[in-house]
């Protein structure tokens, strides 16, 4: 069993038994369901919008080399600098070099899951930079020393009392149980940090090939401030975020907001092209974009699951997932939680260590239904299971499947096996069979019928 799997099983078991925490998560998501449905109802045809959104991404991803080339050409023409990173280590080195060259001290960040993926904060802190997350949820998680719980709602599992205690401890503020006051504490604390920071680091939601712009989606205004006040702006993005046309955003931006947060549009959707231009009164002097592969091309090479690269990281699949709601986001042990995380993590980090996530699914398909860009999520979980069994079958898999194969081809043996199985079923309950133990711990086997199905069929003379 891989380390990742044993940690997952342990954490998932503990969390699933925590009824209080599960009720808290369900309640937190309650408002989301209502708002999402209200917003979806405003679409004259949501299913058609999904078609168009998925085609916009499909067209770009399946022509990635050309679209990316076009984007980079236009981005550079706008005065930005592009850096290429094959993996996490290269991306970290590039960003450290920019910071060093700029003689920077303080760095402010807005929410960027790609930076979690490459563990950027650790690297920057080790190199002696002060790094502050400015998104409220990420700020709270940074103070807690914990990874995000949900890639859109990073601290949705933390109760207000805990946040109040956290702020009292780290910021010396008076305790309060009002979310409003807690938000204002963070607001006041962070304002000066934007002004003093030398570098602002953001992510990117979309890269627009025809104009060379990057698009950033947020609600709080922290990304706006991060890209406005420091003298250097660094954006970090996966190579798959590119779309062909600016007009693609007229579909993708509202859908991202509706599917992800139940909003018509998130509060700030901003397009950046280059540093401060001549005649503009503010903005950064330098604009860098780090384009990251980090095994995305491995996923690209799998035509069956390539559509997982269409993901716009709205988080809708997490919000509806019965597994996510019961085991929580931290148990996954991944940068991207929930169904999409279970699909892509084996590609990004290795199938052998991470295929267990694809097993943690009821295959109910709620994720596939929720996905605004029609990623075939629950089938990809099955594809991962199949690929894992093919790539490195366990001894049990091999014995079971070879045995089954042998028996099913011989009707007399199948009938005999059935008789033996029916007779011994009451005793099987007591045997400590591997693979059965977890199931039998909380369940009884059904009573064996006296006749096989085939005998019943025959005796009915149908």
């Amino acid at each position: 069993m891989s380390d990742a799997k044993s940690i997952f099983l342990k954490d998932a078991t503990v969390n699933a038994a925590d009824g209080d925490q599960r009720a808290f998560i369900r309640k937190a998501l309650g408002g989301y369901y209502t708002n999402r449905d209200l917003q979806k109802a405003r679409y004259r045809d949501w299913e058609m919008a999904r078609d168009v959104a998925s085609m916009a991404k499909w067209t770009a991803v399946n022509d990635l080399a050309n679209v990316l080339e076009k984007f980079v050409g236009n981005f550079e023409r706008n005065g930005g600098v592009v850096h290429w990173a094959r993996d996490a280590a290269e991306a970290r080195a590039i960003i450290l070099k920019i910071a060093e060259d700029a003689n920077a001290k303080a760095i402010v960040k807005s929410k960027c899951m790609t930076s979690e993926e490459i563990h950027l904060n650790d690297a920057l802190e080790k190199a002696g930079y002060g790094v502050v997350e400015s998104d409220l949820g990420e700020f709270i998680q940074q103070l807690r020393g914990e990874a995000p719980y949900h890639f859109v709602f990073p601290c949705m599992h933390v109760k207000r009392e805990a946040i109040s205690e956290l702020f009292t401890k780290h910021l010396g503020t008076a305790p309060t149980d009002s979310p409003e006051e807690l938000t204002m504490i963070a607001r006041r604390h962070l304002r000066q940090l934007y002004i003093d920071a030398d570098i602002g680091i953001t992510g990117a939601n979309f890269l627009i090939a025809e104009t060379g712009q990057i698009s950033i989606t947020e609600n709080e205004g922290n990304a706006r401030l991060t890209a406005a006040l420091p003298r250097i702006h660094i954006a970090l993005s996966g190579i798959e975020k590119v779309v062909n046309y600016l007009d693609d955003l007229s579909v993708l931006l509202p859908m991202l907001a509706t599917a992800g947060a139940g909003q018509p549009m998130t509060c700030y959707n901003t397009l950046y092209s280059g540093p401060r231009k001549k005649g503009e009164c503010d903005g950064p002097e330098q604009f860098h974009l780090v384009l990251l592969d980090n095994a995305r091309t491995r996923l690209l090479a799998d035509p069956e699951q390539r559509d997982a690269l269409h993901c716009i990281r709205c988080g809708a699949c997490l919000n509806v997932c019965p597994i996510f709601k019961n085991i929580g986001g931290l148990a996954y042990g991944t940068t991207y939680q929930g169904p999409i995380g279970s699909v892509i993590t084996p590609h990004l980090r290795g199938l052998k260590q991470w295929n267990h996530l694809s097993g943690a699914s009821s295959l109910c398909g709620a994720c596939t239904d929720a996905c605004p860009v029609r990623i075939d999520l629950h089938h990809h979980l099955l594809h991962n299971r199949r690929n894992a069994a093919k790539e490195s079958p366990t001894l049990f898999d091999r014995l079971f499947h070879n045995g089954f194969n042998f028996v099913i081809k011989r009707p007399w043996l199948f009938a005999a096996g059935g008789r033996i199985f029916r007779a011994t079923l009451p005793f099987l309950q007591k045997l400590p069979l591997p693979y059965m133990r977890a199931w039998m711990k909380t369940r009884d086997l059904p009573k064996a019928p006296s006749q096989s199905f085939r005998d019943q069929w025959k005796n009915q003379n149908v």
Partner: protein, 226 residues
């Protein structure tokens, strides 16, 4: 060792040698062209100017943004002055636009044209930032500001209140129309920032409870002339 750029492109070209099936679609999705002008599947943006204004008012109310409709520039100036008095603003920064200068002149508090290189600290100390905009999207209640026409990047997001003054003719039905208009206006020379502002800054990060004014403005006013 080859460089990262050519390595990544080589990996992409290799990966794409095997074609992926097209997604299972409900309709034909116009053969994948989301660039067709009319998008009759998205939320409505109104068929005419009046229809758009109705939808806009409804959207802004839901977003907790305040719409103030006035007949002409003189009454816009009066509305702004009243707002400033009722909110007891002491310092206000505005974008030196020909529409805004006379309107801001009616303010009795300290005003400041934040259009040249400015002190960030001074802007942070302002009670309100007043800007124009590129266009207003009825469909979603979004206001498109840009670094070229709205006083740079910080003015519309750093002060605690944001006031937008615009003409009713700047209202467009949907997001696609706003993007097309910005491109037509600026051509190849796109402003370094174009930002759709949809309601005052907000967060739900604490227990998914809505709080306005996370980092950006807590209040958003749209004074619409005509």
């Amino acid at each position: 060792m080859s460089d990262a750029r050519s390595d990544i492109f080589a990996r992409i070209r290799e990966a794409l040698k095997v074609k992926a099936p097209k997604p299972h679609l409900k309709g034909d999705a116009n053969a994948g062209k989301s660039s067709v002008a009319a998008k009759p599947w998205l939320p409505e943006g109104g068929d005419d100017a009046e229809g758009s204004l109705l939808i806009l008012a409804e959207q802004l109310a839901k977003l907790k943004a305040v719409l103030i409709r006035v007949p002409d520039r003189a009454s816009a100036s009066k509305a702004l002055a009243n707002l400033s008095l009722s909110k007891k603003w002491k310092k206000v920064a505005f974008h030196g636009h020909e529409l805004l200068r006379p309107i801001a002149a009616g303010l009795s508090c300290e005003t400041w044209e934040a259009d040249a290189s400015f002190d960030k600290q001074r802007l942070e100390g302002c009670d309100a930032g007043i800007t124009t905009c590129e266009s207003i999207v009825a469909q979603l209640g979004s206001i498109l500001v840009s670094s070229a026409t709205s006083g740079g990047r910080a003015l519309s997001v750093l002060p605690h209140v944001h006031v937008v003054v615009a003409e009713a003719a700047q209202v467009v039905p949907d997001l696609g129309a706003a993007l097309a208009l910005a491109r037509a206006r600026h051509g190849e020379q796109l402003p370094s920032m174009l930002s759709f502002i949809t309601g005052p800054s907000r967060t739900g990060d604490i227990e998914r409870i809505l709080v306005l004014g996370a980092h950006g403005p807590k209040e958003l006013y749209l004074i619409l002339i005509g």
